[in-house]
Subunit: 202 residues, 2 copies
Amino acid sequence: MNRREASKAETRRLVLEAARELFSQKGMQECTIRDIAGKAGVSPASVLVHYKSKTALLEEALVGDIRDALSGLIASIPAGAGLLDRLMHLSKGMLRFYDRDRDIYRALVRLTIFEPVTETPGMTKQSEEYVRFLSEMVEKDKASGVIRQNVDPMFAAASIFFFYLGALTMLFRMPEMSVETVADMLSSMTAQYLEGITQGRP
Amino acid sequence: MNRREASKAETRRLVLEAARELFSQKGMQECTIRDIAGKAGVSPASVLVHYKSKTALLEEALVGDIRDALSGLIASIPAGAGLLDRLMHLSKGMLRFYDRDRDIYRALVRLTIFEPVTETPGMTKQSEEYVRFLSEMVEKDKASGVIRQNVDPMFAAASIFFFYLGALTMLFRMPEMSVETVADMLSSMTAQYLEGITQGRP
DNA sequence: TCATCATGCTAAACTTGTTTACTGAATAAA
DNA sequence: TTTATTCAGTAAACAAGTTTAGCATGATGA
């Protein structure tokens, strides 16, 4: 690595470090690029040399913890448990993770969820990994006979993910609602999904 | 009404009218408060006297059409059709409505969906009305024996709504995706939900 | 009618994300 | 080594949402 490249990487690291601290300390709104630049000892414009926008910086600052949370949950899935329990281990776990700092994660999701995929690589990758894992779970349970053979795993995974997204939306929209209330609701809805709601099937 | 109150109402009307035209003409991002103020013949600050923020103005400018779209769809539900067809009449209809101007509605949803309920009365009311209507539909189909008796109508309505929200998110996130593709996916997922995916129920 | 009050509206300022034009040092080329 | 080039970093400007302090006009009451 060049001297130039090294110095560049170091500056980038300083900015990210300052951003991590200040974002979690003061939230997205109250933390300005000038604050971050000041703490990192660089100019405000320099922040945007390394990160395309404040949103991109926020994403970069938070996505590591999200990835760790998800892979930690995946690694700790109770092996022998039923399908619903395994799904709720993941979904409730992620809800509880976001609940630890609702404001900052609400800001992140709000700023990224409706952006084109190319603009938000970090969050997109997380969502895709989540859905892919769900899809694999469904596939295995299909193979073992728990799930019916005519079920498309991708659609099932997307459905479960949409329930999770809906619950997350409720969590962010209703500050007075406890995460456990939302989690229980999600659990009931997912259970109902797994059961099916219409009568008279073959 | 006072002379003062009348003049105030008139100004408010002018601002809203200008906002409607400019928002749909140039989109949210490219249309500034100063533009709207100019077109309405008032000062920029005056816009914010009547509407708390640019977001609030956008909401006010669009929510009428959304309400009309939803009630039009509700009024035109095919009476004798099956549950899935009636649901898709609504959900697909709303997706097609938002598709007519994805950019402006993406901006609206993005700015309102994660805000506290009290900040976005218009959009909140629309969502609530939608879910309430879905809930009534489920209740009726439960009474007529189409839906199983152990199904909670509110949870079912919320599930169907979350599918719809997920589809809307995909529509906004993926500009290259056609509304009919998203609608078909939503249809498949909702159908699967109505069927249930697990085996071996009583 | 006159004095007081309330308020719709505004100009100007403020804030903050972002862009632009530039500089000086590091690197590459000769 | 000397020259040319690249480019990390910056100061200053810019853009646009929002806030503030004040004004002028209409409402209110004596």
